[in-house]
């Protein structure tokens, strides 16, 4: 019974640390640019934990937090301890700006920062953790990992995170490339290996509704993070053509792939090799598979982007980062309703299972 009691203890700890939240904890993942202040605050207002994603420019996160602060002030969300804001902020370590991030965090005190994509493993994470903790002691540190080794390195570190986000291979956007497996096996093994650390686990990658929430809780997670599902929310900071494609696409096993192609088409280079993003397949990927030269694909891509919304879709050419669970996303809804529905569906499923 230790597993289950530990999980219960974790849920109590999270409820205490983030008093505006309702169990089971539903987290809005910090998707780059697309998780803006409106989405984060809507998730937190519904009793979830909303994260603002990294911005195009490091300085823009402060503006996002300023906007979030205004939305929170008028929302009536119960405040966490001290002066912390009831939203979080995500930072990509490998290309993040720690000076700017520390300054932002010291000014706005988000309830948590979510760190991910370190080039040099825990060593870089430690530098960020220490610095951000000094900048805002009330801000907790969440660390996203995708392998058992990363989890062990984090727990054994002199600056361990407060929460570990265990991201499985089905996740959209950037995650582990070669050794990626789903959280269905990764999370229980990490739970066993980090027992006694006192660090709660949040499952990420593949959850789009209450069913996935029950699955995550069943294997020992204290909560779940959803990304792709919130791309199809009214509050997402997303282009309509992109959002339409997330709603349209089905069968993530066949129609999504992990590749750096779209990063390169967008002019983004330098991602640490251990990471690659999952995207919905479109013409660019098919042309690459057919042997078309990158320069030619790039030309078509750039022409398509100039057309706006038409750049997305099965005949489109541009990056459409999304999870393998994209087929479970079938309509645009308010973020708060997504949170409530996932929580309520999870409760109903657990109730139905307990009656059997």
């Amino acid at each position: 019974m230790e597993d289950k009691l530990q999980s219960v203890g974790f849920r109590q700890r999270l409820a205490a640390a983030y008093p505006w939240t309702t169990a089971p904890l539903i987290v809005g993942a910090p998707m780059r640019v697309m998780s803006g202040p409106a989405l984060a605050v809507a998730v937190s207002r519904a009793g979830g934990f909303g994260f603002i994603g990294p911005s195009e420019k490091p300085e823009s996160t402060a503006a996002d937090l300023e906007t979030a602060k205004g939305l929170i002030a008028s929302s009536g969300i119960p405040q966490p301890t001290g002066s912390a804001l009831p939203v979080g902020v995500g930072y990509q370590i490998w290309n993040g700006d720690l000076d700017v991030s520390a300054s932002t965090v010291s000014q706005y005190h988000p309830a948590a920062v979510w760190l991910f994509a370190s080039r040099h493993g825990q060593a870089d994470v430690d530098v960020w953790t220490k610095r951000l903790h000094e900048a805002s002691p009330e801000t907790e540190v969440w660390l996203q990992i995708g392998t058992l080794q990363e989890a062990l390195d984090a727990v054994r570190s002199a600056s361990p995170p407060n929460v570990l986000v265990v991201q499985g291979a089905e996740a959209g956007g950037h995650g582990r490339t070669s050794d990626g497996i789903g959280f269905i096996t990764l999370l229980p093994e990490i739970a066993d290996a980090t027992r006694g650390s006192g660090i709660p686990l949040i499952a990420a990658g593949g959850v789009a509704d209450g069913r996935g929430v029950v699955a995550a809780l069943g294997i020992g997670a204290a909560g779940v993070a959803m990304g792709t599902r919130f791309l199809a929310s009214h509050e997402a900071r997303i282009i309509k053509g992109y959002q339409d494609e997330v709603v349209r696409a089905t069968d993530g096993g066949a129609n999504t792939v992990r590749t750096h192609l779209y990063n390169h088409l967008r002019g983004t280079f330098g991602w640490p090799e251990q990471f690659s993003p999952r995207t919905i397949i479109n013409r660019s990927w098919k042309e690459k598979q057919a042997g078309t030269a990158f320069e030619e694909i790039k030309k078509r891509h750039d022409q398509a982007v100039a057309q706006g919304d038409a750049a997305w879709g099965p005949e489109g050419w541009t990056a459409t980062y999304a999870g393998a669970n994209v087929g479970l996303v079938r309509g645009v809804a308010k973020a708060g309703e997504i949170v409530e529905e996932a929580r309520n569906e999870a409760a109903r499923i657990i109730q139905a299972l307990s009656g059997l």
Copy 2:
């Protein structure tokens, strides 16, 4: 609530079809050779559903069923409808012998056959389904699939299966190669797409204990199949060196891989390209990664095999097919205890969750 009610209905249907079983249904997967009659009967005796795997030679399955029949006679397992045996048999379609299989099934009437690995999709499955159903009308047909399309093809077929086994990418042994994703996203999408078909779903790939059982039930499965966990059972028909390695290995994300290398080292060729097996990594894979020629690896492999148990292990050279959940398997136990423990742990977790 439709999802949950459907799942409840499925569980009732399975309980009626397989009266010796206890919900939630725990299935012993038909691992080639290693799932012999002793393992299958032990699983069924504990209220699970044990399958005998394909044999080295098609004719050997009859001998396995004869052995199972004897074990069942002395076990006191409640018999299913008619003369069916309370165990199942697995057949690999692409290289199976349908004449021999039909003859075997007509003689022993296993409660179900589990079909998998068809070279030409549902067309080949249909041929097997019709023929085996004629050979033994009381034998139900389970079909293992790994993609949404395969599930749709099966459900729309004129000869649909009685049960669909949804195998995720974490599974050990042979599964889908390129488009493999975990059942965490695959199964809910299939559940939604096959709603109304009346066909229950069994989750396979990644489950090793009661935690995985709850996860599977949470996303709408009517039961789960376990393979790797039963490799570490006293009843498995497995070489000690292999079993020791399954118990020893951890971190399936880093230490397992899908590759045809070990098939080829064992002299097995011809698997349809859409399938490949997950195996624990050892010297052969590392040498291949280092650029060593196949012929050289083959020589070292064959020398190692001649040494018996030493052929396995991190410094071994031979095939060690296992799932990404191998790190959750930490000791050898009786198969019946594995079934009961998974079922009881699942019940305890559901109870703990329902109290929150």
